[in-house]
Symmetry: C2
Subunit: 182 residues, 2 copies
Amino acid sequence: MQHKSFADMQCPIARSLERVGEWWSMLILRDALRGARRFDEFQKSLAIAPNMLTRRLNSLVESGLLERRRYSARPPRYEYLPTESARDFRPVLWMLISWGNKHFAPEGPSLLIVDAKTGARADPIVVDRATGRPLMSPDFALAAGPAANGRLRRVDRAADERTAVASEGAPAKSPKAKSRSS
Amino acid sequence: MQHKSFADMQCPIARSLERVGEWWSMLILRDALRGARRFDEFQKSLAIAPNMLTRRLNSLVESGLLERRRYSARPPRYEYLPTESARDFRPVLWMLISWGNKHFAPEGPSLLIVDAKTGARADPIVVDRATGRPLMSPDFALAAGPAANGRLRRVDRAADERTAVASEGAPAKSPKAKSRSS
């Protein structure tokens, strides 16, 4: 690829995008998680150039998101099955669907999450597993974790410094600043 | 850009990626949602080439995810503020963080979601807003919505046909197939 790799970044978003951030990859995962298995199924759904589809399928196999399995010996034919890691990716797609339906679907939703038994439409929100509290800002914030290096902490420092300058040298005491240092 | 646009696709994932799917865009949003505002703050955090950062910031402004605001008249200087649409994107980033921390952080997490008051770590899961049920497969599935065109329905048909062939012509009666036709 021509762009810089995110592989040397520590951030879990960057590391995730290193696996699924290439153009087309998430749409291939979408189809795999909906039941697409074979090359021509992906190809027809996506209208993607065959050489590009081959590259992306191989890349997803290398990243451990698809498993390649031969389903015909003569001629040799392969299908692509989502791995556990790919199934774990489903919530990311669900939140992307929810965001896209809310902001970019003026004609109404064209893809929904539904109860598999009743067909009732589900409305996905993110909550904390232990407490069930919705993970809304400003109640929740991002914080550098124990393994974070200096670069990941830099944004926090820059924001804190800007806040300190804006309040003419008064110490920053916002809940956000507090959470980041805890 | 050299790749095909997703703008003519109906799928809410494709439409979302059309806005945030370019390499770097989600990392810029991550920093904006953590409090980065100014060009050099993004630049230092990401170690991104300045011309690339300019392109990405402009693209996010065009897509309505960042708002450009002048904070200095002489010399003219601008900062970039996340819009409501960008704040709505936070749950997508949270699920990416969760996925990345689970699968690609052998040394431990370097970015966490925490309670802004207590600093307690949160563990994000996606549930249905009305019922609180976790949106797990196979209880929940994707289904074409009322506005879906033929291409979005194609994967379902292909999977159904493959199932029908595999069971030697018996009608497909899996819960998944049922949900798609309901």
